[in-house]
Subunit: 146 residues, 2 copies
Amino acid sequence: MALARKKGPSAKLRSAAFKRVRADHQVELAEDYVELIADLIDERAEARGTDIAMRLGVANATVVKALKRLQEQGLITQEPYRAIFLTGDGWKMADNGRRKHRIVEGFLLALGVNSATARIDAEGIEHHVSAETLKAMARFLARNGG
Amino acid sequence: MALARKKGPSAKLRSAAFKRVRADHQVELAEDYVELIADLIDERAEARGTDIAMRLGVANATVVKALKRLQEQGLITQEPYRAIFLTGDGWKMADNGRRKHRIVEGFLLALGVNSATARIDAEGIEHHVSAETLKAMARFLARNGG
DNA sequence: ATAGAAGTTTAGCACTAGCTAAACATTAGT
DNA sequence: ACTAATGTTTAGCTAGTGCTAAACTTCTAT
């Protein structure tokens, strides 16, 4: 190449955004699982593998593997052939996730998006909104009838 | 279990949302790459591996592997040791991605989020907004000074 | 009390996305 | 024209997330 090509002053800033997205993806699955487990416990006092598999739309074996990792991360407790429960950390993550989900979905509804779409999009978006954006959404929601 | 536990009427709808998110993730990487390649071509007439690696914040070898897949998908063309270019489909995807990115980022700014956060969050969110949500964001943007 | 249904786990496969280190090709500068 | 720097590719590793099929437990109903 002829001339020293400049990298652009913001090369690092740009890559930071992508890194953040990759990091988010790692937490995403854990958040989805604990939120779902929390919902199931609230609905029926316990969460079982097949229910999780069904709601997530994945195979049973996939759930087992994921739960093993969640246990290693200290988010859930489980014993063989028994229901799954959340640890303190698990509840913290679940509640935080559900709060985010509620705000994002409500926000999309307030924006005028129809409810089926709002639910689907919220599921994808919730893991990528920073605290600041969430606050902005909540503010908007408070003003525009949430 | 004692009584037939009901699955809940919306089990399928719920799992559909998660399936959608997983599907989005598969396209996400492709979109990020072609968008970035398009930006590089616009800026400096050609896109090279190291530039992509730097901006994405990943290793060179990772880029090589990803580009191979993109080529198989018919999104880019490349020859060994040469720069990378987009196919017609590649441009289509890149332009669509950049358009989404612009709307989402602009929307977050209009919402009152600061610019650094808006950029980072937009990067994560852009792949998860449906056409309908995007339209709603564009509408909001048009009204609230975009 | 026991057979069959339902649920759970294990084993083994495939693919994606990341990494480092080493080999190879191209380009620039003397 | 050659050497050194730069850029690119290959090889081989790790870990995550998905699958199916088979084995094993637990629960329910006769």
